[in-house]
């Protein structure tokens, strides 16, 4: 009797152990974890050079049950995004801490580069689990007008690269398709300034030459122009879609311009006199609203 009872007991314990083994292997060993993150107070684009909080957690991939874990987290810029058509050394946002407990709060700090980035949130050890994370935009201001697309005004020549046509080769200013974005108010003032200049010089009606060459207003989401391919600027004041360079005859611009008069025309049309003027080298007129 005792032997039979012991046999039953052992069998029951075996079933329980087997059940627990199956349960644990399915839930804790076989189902992988994934890392998730949300950006607190998320609004696109995230301003450049600024910190943002991330809420980070882990969960089982299939059940979605949240669990505690350790995650490694990074941010990776999407190549060619933001109008920058070169990628060597391209900077992405930094995240602190790079590895830490989840659920938890991490800090994402954007750089001066306006672009699309992707978060990668990976539970440790990475080999056994999957990574996840949202895409987000980094940018400055709202340069919502691409002057290249506003076909009504044929008195302005937008150039960059040679020949000055859409799809022209990149020379670090972004291509002509990308570097003529402005905020709408300054865009209208710029076109008025061009009108003022052409009007006072008695130019023939457009599209008859001479035109006025303007360049480097802003990239689609603002941010720095990587003119020197070091992701450090200059062109700092072209980051928010409120500036434009107006040029005299050069390799890319066949039409001459009296710089001081163009400066005056910009100031007559609401440009900030302090930050509007003739910039060297070039030289060109930097008009800023």
């Amino acid at each position: 009797m005792q032997k039979k009872l012991s046999t039953y007991l052992h069998s029951a314990i075996g079933v329980v152990v087997l059940f627990l083994f199956v349960l644990s292997s399915s839930a804790y060993c076989q189902e992988p974890k994934t890392g998730r993150a949300t950006i607190v107070n998320y609004a696109q684009p995230l301003p450049t050079n600024s910190p943002h909080s991330l809420n980070v957690w882990c969960e089982y991939v299939f059940s979605g049950q949240p669990i505690s874990c350790t995650v490694e987290i990074g941010s990776f810029p999407n190549w060619n995004s933001g109008g920058h058509l070169h990628n060597t050394g391209r900077l992405g946002s930094t995240i602190s801490p790079a590895i830490g407990p989840a659920p938890g709060t991490f800090t994402l700090t954007t750089t001066a580069v306006a672009q699309e980035e992707c978060l990668l949130v990976c539970p440790q050890p990475t080999a056994e689990n999957t990574c996840d994370g949202p895409s987000f935009w980094v940018g400055d201001g709202w340069p919502d007008v691409n002057l290249l697309w506003t076909g009504e005004h044929t008195d302005v020549m937008y150039y960059n690269g040679a020949p000055p046509t859409p799809g022209a080769p990149n020379n670090n200013h972004g291509t002509i398709d990308h570097n003529h974005y402005m905020q709408s108010g300054p865009a209208l003032d710029l076109l008025d300034a061009v009108n003022t200049y052409r009007n006072t010089h008695g130019y023939p009606p457009p599209p008859q030459p001479p035109l006025v060459c303007v360049n480097d207003q802003s990239l689609p989401w603002g941010g720095l122009f990587d003119v020197n391919q070091n992701w450090m600027g200059p062109h700092d004041s072209h980051r928010v879609g409120t500036s434009a360079d107006v040029n005299k005859a050069s390799g890319q611009c066949p039409y001459d311009l009296v710089l001081s008069e163009m400066e005056s025309a910009c100031e007559q049309n609401n440009a900030n006199p302090l930050s509007t003027g003739i910039h060297n080298p070039g030289p060109h007129v930097h008009c800023e609203w």
Binding site: T200, D236, P273, L274
Partner: protein, 364 residues
């Protein structure tokens, strides 16, 4: 009591007027010893007590942090001008009237409400020829090389300048116009109550080597406008030639925080001086009361600026006639003789705009 209230009201109005004429820039005065008090540590733009320059704080190293070590740069406003303008008007003969004016933006007359205007061919029936001579007083330190008149947004007018052998052949003329922008952005700083307008402008081309600036103590004539508008008081703006407006700053090196504190310069235009004159203002069907109000305000302003003598019998009689408008209309005849340039200008303008009759000859 009523009289006291009226006097108080007048004083208040004069105070408001004075404030309108010379707006206070929203920046602190640069301390004489150059030491910035602690409460102004976040201010980077100052103005000199003489209002002839801004004092700008910039990072010591270009591109550096504005919160770090700073240097001081003097930014001259080139506004040491003492401008004056003399006006004359005559009605054009029919053969002189018709002209065609090609303009990129031109007067906004007929331009569709697009912000990207196209070519305008204007057939202007210029009924009147407005002629101007500008001057710069001996007290000035800078030379005038750019001046403009405020006109109503839909004015049909054609500014011209001398060409050929004349010394100021290189003065260019044109519109500082913003078609589609209702009313235009330029304030009638000298004519209280008048609506903002656009500018007709003349300036000395920087490309010219022969152009003559209006130096202190000198004057220059030959500026003309053909227009079908009747004359009224308006504001003139004067400044230095575009090429003389030199900035000691690299515009691309100015931090945004600093530029933001100087943004007021687009509204409070410290780089130019204003003057009061007569120009093309009124359509043929403009309400008579509107014209009368303009002349009352303009004559009052000239008296305030000591350019008219309120005790002059001519001024008294004209003011009396304007006070009784429109009840008396144009029935009266001004008996007093104009005795100086300003009074002659008033006489010429009143004849055309309000049909006033004068017993005097054309010129004093």
């Amino acid at each position: 009591m009523n009289r006291q209230l009226r006097i108080f009201g007048f004083v208040l109005m004069a105070g408001c007027l004075a404030a309108q004429q010379v707006p206070e820039p929203p920046v602190p005065i640069w301390p004489q010893d150059g030491k910035i008090p602690p409460e102004l540590q976040d201010r980077y733009v100052f103005i000199t007590s003489g209002r002839d320059a801004l004092m700008i704080l910039l990072p010591e190293t270009p591109g550096g942090d504005i919160k770090g070590p700073k240097k001081v740069v003097r930014y001259p406003l080139y506004n040491q001008l003492d401008p004056g303008v003399a006006f004359a008007i005559r009605e054009l003969q029919p053969s002189e009237r018709s002209l065609t004016y090609s303009s990129m933006s031109g007067p906004s007359y007929g331009v569709p409400p697009l912000r990207f205007p196209s070519m305008v061919q204007l057939e202007a029936e210029g009924d009147y020829l407005y002629q101007y001579t500008i001057s710069n007083g001996r007290a000035a330190k800078d030379a005038i090389g750019n001046w403009s008149l405020v006109v109503a947004a839909d004015t049909v007018a054609v500014p011209t300048h001398h060409t050929g052998e004349d010394v100021h052949a290189s003065w260019l003329s044109g519109w500082i116009a913003t078609p589609g922008r209702a009313g235009g952005p330029w304030q009638q700083a000298e004519v209280p109550g008048a609506p903002n307008g656009e500018l007709v402008s003349w300036f000395l081309s920087a490309a010219s080597t022969t152009g003559v600036r209006v130096a202190p103590g000198e004057s220059l004539g030959g500026f003309q406008i053909k227009s079908d508008r009747k004359p009224g008081f308006t504001t003139a703006y004067f400044k230095v030639a575009p090429a003389d407006d030199r900035s000691p700053l690299d515009p691309e090196e100015i931090p945004r925080e600093v530029a933001a504190q100087a943004r007021f310069l687009t509204n409070i235009r410290l780089d130019r001086k204003t003057g009061l004159t007569l120009g093309p203002m009124f359509t043929l069907d403009a309400p008579r009361a509107e014209i009368v109000a303009n002349f009352r305000a303009g004559i009052g302003r000239w008296i305030e600026k000591h350019q008219l003598d309120p005790q002059s019998s001519f001024v008294k009689e004209v003011q009396q006639a304007l006070q009784t408008e429109p009840a008396t209309g144009q029935d009266g005849v001004i008996q007093s003789q104009p005795t100086n340039q300003r009074e002659t200008e008033i006489m010429q303008a009143l004849r055309i705009s309000l049909g006033f009759q004068f017993a005097s000859a054309e010129t004093p």
